[in-house]
């Protein structure tokens, strides 16, 4: 009850300040969810950090909406006082994903932004960091995007040992080799 009151208060304050923030708040636990436009992301995050007490940046994540042609960046914030986490979402164009650099709000955002740049190809204007993060000498497309076919890439880049594709039943092979019978209770697990 107390938690619900706090949640409603937060929603009200955010919505009065940012008119076009859409919220989806049917969660039973301590979670809130806002979707905003990418232009007001810095002001929303500054507001949540400085005024509302969401001082901890838990994670910056990304969702690839391939069918809609968009990338969704998700900021997960945590308030140690209210014990509530807030998800702030924004959508970027998939062909030209550009958004503002945010590591002046939280310094650790720098690391997450480098990861998103490498894995999803999102460009953060003004991000000062070395080009490579985890992948070394990477020349392909951003690997975490959904239209990147990792199996095809692996097939053409690396050697493969033949013998994987037969997919034979190990239990039957072993019993045939050693001349045993499969017990009745185990037969229902055979292919």
């Amino acid at each position: 009850m107390q938690e619900k009151k706090i949640k409603n208060k937060i929603i009200k304050r955010v919505k009065t300040n940012f008119k076009d923030a859409r919220d989806r708040n049917d969660f039973k636990y301590n979670r809130l969810d806002f979707s905003v436009k990418k232009e007001i992301i810095p002001s929303v995050l500054f507001y949540l950090k400085d005024e509302m007490g969401f001082i901890h940046l838990s994670h910056i994540s990304c969702v690839d909406w391939l069918e809609e042609g968009e990338l969704e960046v998700v900021f997960i914030l945590w308030s140690p006082e209210e014990k509530i986490k807030v998800f702030v979402r924004t959508r970027l164009d998939r062909d030209n994903p550009v958004m503002d650099n945010l590591d002046m709000i939280w310094r650790q955002a720098n690391t997450y932004e480098r990861e998103l740049r490498e894995m999803y190809g999102i460009q953060f204007t003004g991000l000062e960091a070395p080009d490579e993060f985890i992948l070394e000498d990477w020349q392909g497309p951003p690997p975490m995007r959904r239209d990147f076919d990792t199996e095809a890439y692996s097939n053409e880049t690396y050697f493969h040992r033949p013998g994987r594709e037969d997919a034979e039943d190990v239990r039957e092979t072993i019993t045939k080799r050693s001349g045993e019978d499969i017990p009745d209770f185990a037969k229902k697990y055979s292919r």
Partner: protein, 181 residues
């Protein structure tokens, strides 16, 4: 006298016998396989009774133990470590990932067949191999060394161009020192 065929045989026998009873392992702990090494080394399975023990640096080690999947980034370091090791040197591939990719066969960043890049003497199968399997693999390696058949290092030197071509295929930016053995 040493050119005499029979005395060379005796020298080989003695040196192989000595080598097979003092295997110093450089555990290159890639992937999840490294967690099987502590129980193998400590009191329950006690690999040291067979002469198998850890080495601190590549130059002191005889065996390069590669425990699990190798990303292309790690492969670069592994090649460098292998080339720093001094003869006699052997490679043990540990777990399914080094054999055929294991559960990471379709990953964009892990190699699948280790023996195209480094000469593997013994493979230990399993995901993960238990300490018994590890000891059995080392037993096989000892047997091969005793018979003088564990000649991966010679193979690597003789076919260096083939190995280099494979390595450079997955490591496009090649900035490695050339060792002159």
């Amino acid at each position: 006298m040493i050119n005499d065929k029979n005395s060379q045989k005796i020298v080989d026998f003695i040196s192989n016998w000595a080598r097979k009873h003092s295997i110093w392992v450089l555990g290159y702990g890639t992937g999840c396989g490294a967690i099987e090494i502590p129980p193998t080394m400590t009191s329950r399975y006690d690999a040291e009774r067979l002469g198998i023990r850890g080495a601190a640096t590549p130059r002191q080690a005889d065996v390069l133990l590669i425990t699990g999947y190798l990303t292309t980034k790690t492969l670069k370091r592994v090649i460098r470590v292998y080339e720093q090791m001094q003869d006699p040197k052997y490679v043990v591939g540990f777990g399914s990932c080094t054999i055929n990719g294991g559960m990471y066969y379709d990953s964009y960043n892990t190699i699948n067949v280790l023996d195209k890049y480094l000469p593997v003497d013994v493979y230990i199968n399993g995901c993960m191999p238990r300490p018994e399997a590890v000891l059995s693999g080392f037993g096989k390696l000892q047997q091969l060394i005793g018979e003088g058949k564990a000649n991966g290092a010679t193979k690597y030197k003789e076919n260096l161009e083939w190995y280099r071509a494979n390595q450079k295929k997955v490591i496009p930016n090649w900035v490695m020192p050339e060792y002159n053995w």
